[in-house]
C-alpha cells in the first residue's frame, strides 16, 4: 500500500493547500511535498523488485484489487514499481519539491490554488508511472491535463490562453487516438479479459492479436502500433508534432515549465517504452528505420530551431525536442544500452532541463525579460545564479561527469551497435551531430546574456538571487553530477527492468 | 361491404400530408395547431381502420386516448398562444425570433 499512501498524501496535501491561506501556501506546499519525496526516496532504498513490470517481473510495492467489471472485461486497480518506473517516480517527487521552492519568488497571486494544482499534478504523475492497468494509467495520464491547463492559463505569460488551450486540445486528441487504438487491440486479443497491462503484454508476446473487424492479426498489430506511436509522439513530442511545446513552455510559469520539461515530456517516452517497445517487438523491427529517421530529424531539426530563437525559454524548449529525439533513438536501437540509456536520459534530461528552466526563471525574476537581446553581462550582477546556469548549460551539452553525458553516450553506444536497426551507424553519427549544435546555441545564448559588459533593456536593478531561488538549483546540480559520476546508481535497476523487453526481439 | 384496407391507409396518409403541408405553410399559430390536429386524426383513422382489419379493439381504444391527449395538447397550446400574443402582440409563429444561431 506504499504507493496508495504516496498518492493519498499528495492528493490530500493538494486539497489542504488549495484551501490554505495564500500567505503560507508556498511554505506549506513545500513542507507537504517533502513527504512524498521522502517516501519515494525510502522506496528507492527499499526497492526489492526485479525484472520488468509488464513481463512477469517481481514488482515492488504491488497492490491490486478489482474495480469495475465491464462486461467480460475487468478493470482493476493495479499499481507497482519496477526498475524503469521507480527512478521516474523519484524524479517526480524530488523535482516537484524543488519546483515549489523555486516558485516562491515568481508566484505572487492566488498562491494556494497554484501550489494545490502543482501537488495535484505530482499525484497524477506518480500515478502515471506506477499504474499498470490501462484504465487506471489512462486516468492519471489524462488527469494531468486539467492542472497543467490551469497553471499555464492562470499564471502564464501574455499568450497564455492560446498556449493553454493548444496544449489541452492537442495532447488530448492524441490521447484519444492512442486510447482507441489500444482498446481495439484489446478486443483484437481473443482471450484477454482484463485491461491489466501485464496480461495484455503477455498475450501480445504469445501469439499476438487474432484480428479485428476483418483486419488480420499482424495487420491490426501494425495499425495499432502506428496509431499509438502517433498518439505518444505528440506527448513526447517529436517533430512534426512538437509545436505545442514551445508555446506551452514559453507561456507557462517557471515551475510549470520545470514540471512540463522535467516530467511531463517523460510521460510520452515512458509510455512509448511501456507500450510500443514492450508489446510490439515485431513492429518495432518493421518500423525501426522510419522511427530512427524521426528521431534523428527531431534531434537535428529541434536543435536548429533552438539555434534560431532569441527567447531563453524557447531555446530550452526546442532543445527539449532535440533531447527527446535522442531518447527515441535509444529506444528504437533496442539494445540494453540503447533502451537503458534512453530511460536514464529521461531522468537526466528531467533534472537538467528542470535546472535550466529554474536558472532562466531566476534571471527572469530579476530582469523581467527572457530576450537574449535585452541583456548582457548578467554574470556581473548575479554570479551564483549565472554560475549554475552555465553549469546547467554544459550539462545540457553532455559534459562528462554530468548525468547528461552518460545518457547520451549510452544511447549512442547502444544505437551504434544495434543489430535491429539497419544503418544504425549512419543514424547514430547523424544524431550525434546534435552535440555540436547544442553547444552552438547554448554558448551563443550564454555569450550574449550572461557574459560581456553589463547591460539591461528593462529598468530593474538586478541583485543577487535569494537563497530559496538558488538552493533548489544546487540540489539539482548535485544530483546531476552524482548521476554523472556514478550512473550505476540507477542504471543497474533500469537495465534489470529493460532486459526482459529485449529478450522478445532485438539483440542485447 | 368492406373496403380494402389500403384505401384507409391512403386516406390517412393524404390527411397526414395535408396537415404537414399546413404546418409548413401556415404562419398563424392557430392554423399550425389545427394542422397538427389533422395529422393526429390521420393517425386515428389508421388506428380505427386497422382495428377493424385486425379484428381487435386495441386500436379503437387507443384512438380515444389519442383524442383526449390531443385535446389536452390543444389546451396547453392555446395557453401558450395566449401569452405569445400578450408578449408579441401577434400570433404569427415566425415573429418570435429573438433566439437564433
Amino acid at each position: 500500500m506504499m504507493i496508495e499512501a504516496l498518492l493519498a498524501v499528495t492528493l490530500v496535501g493538494a486539497l489542504v493547500t488549495f484551501v490554505a491561506p495564500n500567505r503560507i501556501a508556498g511554505k506549506l506546499a513545500f513542507g507537504i511535498s517533502l513527504i512524498p519525496a521522502a517516501l519515494s526516496l525510502w522506496m528507492f532504498t527499499a526497492f526489492d523488485g526485479s525484472g520488468n513490470a509488464l513481463l512477469d517481473g517481481e514488482l515492488a510495492f504491488e497492490s491490486q484489487f478489482e474495480w469495475i467489471q465491464l462486461g467480460d472485461y475487468t478493470i482493476s486497480w493495479l499499481v507497482g514499481l519496477d526498475g524503469i518506473s521507480l527512478p521516474l517516480v523519484v524524479l517526480t517527487t524530488v523535482l516537484t519539491s524543488l519546483a515549489i521552492m523555486s516558485s516562491w519568488t515568481p508566484i505572487d497571486e492566488r498562491e494556494s490554488q497554484f501550489y494545490g494544482l502543482v501537488l495535484f499534478i505530482e499525484a497524477n504523475l506518480i500515478g502515471v508511472f506506477t499504474a499498470l492497468d490501462f484504465f487506471v494509467w489512462f486516468i492519471f495520464w489524462e488527469a494531468v491535463l486539467i492542472p497543467m491547463y490551469l497553471l499555464i492559463g492562470v499564471w502564464g505569460g501574455p499568450r497564455r490562453k492560446y498556449a493553454a488551450i493548444k496544449f489541452f486540445v492537442y495532447t488530448n486528441v492524441a490521447s484519444l487516438l492512442m486510447f482507441g487504438a489500444f482498446i481495439t487491440l484489446v478486443f483484437g486479443l481473443g482471450d484477454v479479459t482484463s485491461f491489466a497491462l501485464p496480461e495484455i503484454a503477455t498475450a501480445m508476446l504469445e501469439g499476438g492479436p487474432d484480428g479485428f473487424a476483418g483486419l488480420g492479426g499482424s495487420a491490426l498489430a501494425s495499425v495499432v502500433f502506428v496509431a499509438m506511436f502517433l498518439g505518444f509522439a505528440v506527448k513526447v513530442p517529436v517533430v512534426p508534432f512538437h509545436t505545442w511545446l514551445p508555446d506551452a513552455h514559453v507561456e507557462a510559469p517557471t515551475p510549470a515549465s520545470v514540471l512540463l520539461a522535467g516530467v511531463l515530456l517523460k510521460m510520452g517516452t515512458y509510455a512509448l517504452l511501456r507500450f510500443n517497445f514492450t508489446m510490439f517487438p515485431e513492429q518495432v523491427e518493421a518500423y525501426a528505420i522510419p522511427i530512427a529517421a524521426i528521431a534523428v530529424i527531431s534531434v537535428i531539426y529541434g536543435a536548429m530551431l533552438a539555434l534560431a530563437q532569441t527567447d531563453l525559454k524557447r531555446i530550452v524548449a526546442y532543445s527539449s525536442v532535440s533531447s527527446m529525439g535522442y531518447v527515441i533513438l535509444g529506444l528504437v536501437a533496442y539494445t540494453q544500452f540503447g533502451v537503458g540509456g534512453a530511460t536514464f536520459q529521461m531522468v537526466s534530461h528531467g533534472l537538467i532541463s528542470g535546472l535550466m528552466f529554474m536558472a532562466v526563471g531566476v534571471i527572469y525574476n530579476a530582469t523581467h525579460t527572457r530576450m537574449v537581446t535585452d541583456m548582457s553581462g548578467m554574470a556581473d550582477r548575479m554570479p551564483v545564479a549565472v554560475g549554475i546556469l552555465v553549469a546547467g548549460a554544459f550539462g545540457y551539452m553532455g559534459l562528462p561527469l554530468m548525468s547528461g553525458f552518460f545518457g547520451e553516450f549510452a544511447i549512442f553506444f547502444g544505437a551504434f551497435g544495434s543489430g535491429l536497426l539497419a544503418y544504425s551507424q549512419l543514424f547514430t553519427s547523424l544524431a550525434m551531430f546534435g552535440i555540436v549544435i547544442v553547444a552552438g546555441y547554448l554558448l551563443f545564448a550564454l555569450q550574449r546574456t550572461v557574459f560581456g559588459p553589463y547591460h539591461l533593456e528593462t529598468d530593474y536593478d538586478v541583485g543577487r538571487a535569494p537563497l530559496h531561488d538558488v538552493a533548489p538549483m544546487f540540489v539539482l546540480l548535485g544530483i546531476i553530477i552524482a548521476l554523472g559520476v556514478a550512473p550505476e546508481l540507477i542504471f543497474d535497476m533500469i537495465t534489470d527492468a529493460v532486459d526482459p523487453i529485449l529478450e522478445n526481439g532485438g539483440d542485447a | 361491404m368492406n373496403v380494402p384496407i389500403e384505401y384507409f391507409v391512403l386516406l390517412s396518409m393524404a390527411l397526414f400530408s395535408i396537415g404537414l403541408f399546413g404546418i409548413l405553410t401556415r404562419r398563424n399559430a392557430l392554423m399550425f395547431l389545427m394542422s397538427v390536429e389533422i395529422m393526429v386524426n390521420a393517425a386515428n383513422i389508421n388506428l380505427i381502420a386497422f382495428a377493424l382489419y385486425h379484428g381487435n379493439l386495441t386500436g379503437q381504444v387507443f384512438a380515444l386516448f389519442v383524442m383526449a391527449l390531443a385535446a389536452a395538447e390543444v389546451a396547453i397550446g392555446l395557453g401558450i398562444i395566449l401569452v405569445l400574443y400578450r408578449n408579441f402582440r401577434d400570433v404569427d409563429v415566425t415573429v418570435p425570433t429573438t433566439m437564433r444561431w
Binding site: L401, M432, G452 | -
Partner: protein, 678 residues
C-alpha cells in the same frame, strides 16, 4: 617502490581539492586561492616524480589499476559479449613522463600567477585559481587515464576549463567570444572523437589502452584473421575509427583546419595561455596520439594522414607567425606550428621523437609565454612588439631566459628544441626517401624551420633589442621573484632538456645516450617503443641517403642551415636601433597571410553565414507550415462551427421544414436500402 603507486589517484585529486577550496573559500583566503593551488600542484609534482621513480624502480615498469566501474552491460557490437566502462589508472613511462611535465608546468604557472594576476588587483581571482585547479585536475586525469572513454571525458573537461579560463575576463566582448570559439571548434573535433570512441567500443567491446584486453590488441587480432567489421575489412575499419578519434586530436591540438580557435584564445590571461599551450589542452591532442600509438601503427593510411597534416600545419602556421605584431600572437602561431612537428613525428613513426618534442616544447613554450607575460608586466599590459624594444638591459633575467627559449624554439644547436625537432625531421626523411607523400610532409616541415627561425628572432629583436619605442619601454614595471623563479627554472630546462635523447650524437658516435628511447622502451607489453618499432616495420620501410650517419648529418645540417638563415635574416632586418616593418616586401602574399589565409572568415561564414540563416529558415518553416497546419485545423473547425449554427434560423416554420426534410432524407436512405418503395 610499487607502494608509491597507491598514491597515484592523489596526483589528480590534489588539484581537484584546490579547485573546490578556491571555489568555496577563495574570497576569504589570503591570496584568493593561490596558495592551495600552489601546494596542490607542488604535491602533484612530487608524486609524479615519485611515480617516475617507481616506474623506473619497479620490476614491472608500469602501474595499471581499475578504480571503479562507471557502467557495465551487454555490448551489442561485432566482438565481445559484455562491456565495462571503468575509471582506471595507467602509469607507464609515457604517462609518468607526461605527469611530471604537466604538474611541473602547472606548478610554475601557479607561482607565476602570484605576481601576474594577484599583483594586478584582479577581481574574480578565486574563479581564476579554481579554473587552474580544475584544468590541472582534468589534464592529469586525462594523462593517466587507462581507457579511451575516460580519456575522452577528461579531454572534454579540459575543453570546459579552457572555456572558463579563456573567458576569464568575461566583462569584455572579445574574451567570451574567444572562449566560445575555442569550445565550439574543439567540440566539433570531439564530435568525431566521440563517434570514434563509440565505434571502437561497439567494435571491440573494450576501450582499454594497454594490455591483452586492450582494443589495440583486439584490432590487431581482427586484422590478422582478416574478418569484416561493420561491413569493412578490419584494417579499413581501424583506419576509419582511428581517423575519427584523430578528429578530436586535430581540434584540441589546433591542427589545420581546426587551428583557428587557438590565436583567439590569447584573450585569456597569459598564464593560462602558457598552461594551455605548453602542458594541457593543446598537448592533450598529441599525447592522445602517442597514448594510442599502437592503434595508429596498425594503419599506414592513418599514419600518413597524421604526418601530412602535421607537416602542412607546421609550415602553414609558421608562415602566419611571420607577420604578427602582437607578441602573444607570434607565440600562438609558433605553438600551432610546433604541434605540427609533433604530429609529423608521430605520423612518420617517430614515436620517441614526437614525445621528445612534446616534452621540450612544453618547457620552452611555457618559458616563452611566461617570458611574454613578464614582458607584458614590464610593459604595463602592452602587447604590441612595435611599442617595445630595448628591454634587454632593463630586464636581464627575462631577456636571457626568453632568449634561451627562443633558441630552443628556433632549433638552434645545442638547445633542447634542436634535438627533438632534428630527430623528427630525420625520421621523416628516412621514411620519405621511400614514400613521396611523407617526403612532401618532410619538405614542408623543413621549410617551416626557416620561418620559425625568422619569426622567433624577429620577436626577440623587436622586443628586447634596439631603442625603446614607447614611454613604458623607457622605464618598465619591475618584476619580482614569483616571475623570475619560473623563468629561470624553465630556462635551465630549455637549455639542457635535449640531453634526454641526443639521438644524432648517439647514431654518429654509437654511444648509448638515447635515454628517452630506453625509458619508453619499457612499460606495458605492446605499448612500448620496441613494440611500436616492430609494428611500424610492417608499415614503413625506411631508406638512407648513403649511409645512416650521412643521412643524420644531412638532416641535421639542413635544418640547422635553415634555422640559422631564418634567424640571420631576422637579425639583419630587425636587430637595428630603429627597426621598421618590412611586410610590404611580401607584396601580394601579405594580405593573404595577415588575414591568416581567410581561415577564420570561411569558418565564421559556415557558422553565421550558413548555419544561422538555415536555422532561421527552419524556424520560419516551423512557424508557418507546421504550426500553421495545427492552427489551420482549429480555425477551420471554428469556421465550420460558425456555419453550422446558422441552420438554427430562429423561425419555427423553418425548423418544421428542416425536420421534415431531414426525416424524409432518413426515410429515403433506409427505404432504398430496405426496398420499401417497391
Amino acid at each position: 617502490m610499487e607502494g608509491l603507486f597507491d598514491y597515484a589517484p592523489a596526483i589528480a585529486l590534489f588539484p581537484l581539492a584546490a579547485f573546490v577550496i578556491a571555489l568555496a573559500f577563495g574570497p576569504k583566503l589570503p591570496k584568493k586561492g593561490a596558495i592551495p593551488g600552489i601546494v596542490a600542484t607542488a604535491g602533484s609534482l612530487a608524486l609524479s616524480l615519485a611515480m617516475v621513480a617507481a616506474v623506473a624502480g619497479g620490476e614491472e615498469g608500469y602501474y595499471h589499476t581499475t578504480l571503479f566501474t562507471w557502467a557495465a552491460g551487454d555490448a551489442a557490437g561485432e566482438v565481445g559479449e559484455g562491456i565495462e566502462f571503468t575509471f582506471g589508472i595507467l602509469i607507464d613511462p609515457l604517462a609518468a613522463l607526461m605527469l611530471v611535465i604537466v604538474s611541473l608546468i602547472a606548478f610554475l604557472v601557479h607561482v607565476f600567477s602570484l605576481e601576474y594576476m594577484n599583483a594586478e588587483g584582479e577581481t574574480g581571482l578565486p574563479r581564476y585559481y579554481a579554473g587552474l585547479g580544475l584544468f590541472t585536475f582534468s589534464m592529469l586525469a586525462f594523462v593517466y587515464a587507462d581507457n579511451l572513454l575516460m580519456a575522452f571525458m577528461f579531454f572534454e573537461l579540459v575543453g570546459l576549463c579552457s572555456f572558463l579560463l579563456i573567458g576569464f575576463w568575461f566583462r569584455t566582448r572579445s574574451a567570451p567570444s574567444a572562449a566560445k570559439k575555442a569550445f565550439l571548434v574543439t567540440r566539433f573535433g570531439d564530435y568525431f572523437f566521440l563517434i570514434g570512441v563509440v565505434a571502437i567500443a561497439a567494435t571491440f567491446g573494450t576501450l582499454q589502452f594497454a594490455g591483452d584486453d586492450s582494443f589495440v590488441a583486439a584490432a590487431e587480432a581482427a586484422i590478422d584473421d582478416g574478418g569484416q567489421l561493420f561491413g569493412f575489412d578490419a584494417e579499413t575499419w581501424v583506419t576509419i575509427t582511428g581517423l575519427l578519434v584523430l578528429g578530436g586530436v586535430i581540434g584540441k591540438s589546433a591542427q589545420f583546419p581546426l587551428h583557428t580557435w587557438l590565436p583567439d584564445a590569447m584573450e585569456g590571461p597569459t598564464t593560462v595561455s602558457a598552461l594551455i599551450h605548453a602542458a594541457t589542452m593543446v598537448a592533450a591532442g598529441v599525447y592522445l596520439v602517442a597514448r594510442m600509438f599502437g592503434y595508429y601503427a596498425l594503419s599506414p593510411t592513418a599514419l600518413a594522414i597524421i604526418a601530412f597534416v602535421g607537416g602542412f600545419t607546421a609550415l602553414f602556421a609558421a608562415t602566419m607567425g611571420v607577420v604578427k605584431d602582437d607578441i602573444k600572437q607570434v607565440l600562438a602561431y609558433s605553438t600551432i606550428s610546433q604541434y605540427g612537428y609533433m604530429m609529423l613525428g608521430l605520423g612518420v613513426g617517430g614515436y620517441v621523437a614526437g614525445v621528445f618534442h612534446l616534452m621540450n616544447h612544453a618547457f620552452f613554450k611555457a618559458l616563452l609565454f611566461l617570458g611574454a607575460g613578464a614582458v607584458i608586466i614590464l610593459m604595463h599590459h602592452e602587447q604590441d612588439m612595435w611599442k617595445m624594444g630595448g628591454l634587454k638591459n632593463k630586464a636581464p633575467v627575462t631577456y636571457y631566459t626568453f632568449l634561451a627559449g627562443a633558441l630552443a624554439l628556433a632549433g638552434i644547436i645545442p638547445f633542447s628544441g634542436f634535438w627533438s625537432k632534428d630527430e623528427i625531421l630525420y625520421d621523416a626523411l628516412i621514411v620519405g626517401t621511400e614514400q613521396p607523400l611523407i617526403m612532401a610532409a618532410y619538405a614542408m616541415g623543413l621549410l617551416a624551420v626557416f620561418f620559425t627561425g625568422f619569426y622567433t628572432f624577429r620577436m626577440v629583436f623587436l622586443t628586447f633589442h634596439g631603442e625603446p619605442r614607447s614611454d613604458v619601454a623607457e622605464d618598465p614595471h619591475p618584476v619580482g621573484w614569483a616571475v623570475k623563479f619560473p623563468l629561470i627554472a624553465l630556462g635551465v630546462l630549455a637549455v639542457v632538456a635535449g640531453v634526454a635523447n641526443l639521438a644524432p650524437v648517439a647514431k654518429l658516435t654509437g654511444l648509448e645516450i638515447e635515454f628517452l628511447n630506453e625509458w619508453l622502451s619499457s612499460g606495458v607489453e605492446g605499448t612500448t617503443y620496441v613494440a611500436y618499432t616492430d609494428a611500424l616495420a610492417a608499415v614503413y620501410d625506411t631508406g638512407y641517403i648513403g649511409t645512416e650517419s650521412t643521412t643524420v648529418l644531412i638532416a641535421a645540417g639542413l635544418s640547422l642551415l635553415l634555422a640559422f638563415s631564418g634567424a640571420g635574416l631576422a637579425w639583419k632586418l630587425y636587430n637595428v636601433p630603429e627597426p621598421v616593418a618590412h611586410k610590404e616586401r611580401l607584396g601580394s602574399v601579405r594580405e593573404t597571410i595577415e588575414s591568416n589565409y581567410y581561415q577564420d572568415e570561411y569558418q565564421v561564414w559556415l557558422a553565421e553565414g550558413l548555419t544561422l540563416p538555415l536555422a532561421r529558415a527552419a524556424d520560419r518553416f516551423d512557424q508557418t507550415v507546421i504550426d500553421g497546419t495545427v492552427n489551420g485545423v482549429s480555425s477551420v473547425s471554428l469556421f465550420g462551427s460558425d456555419r453550422v449554427k446558422r441552420i438554427q434560423t430562429g423561425i419555427v416554420t423553418n425548423y418544421a421544414a428542416l425536420i421534415v426534410t431531414g426525416f424524409i432524407a432518413l426515410v429515403i436512405v433506409l427505404g432504398v436500402l430496405g426496398g420499401w418503395f417497391l
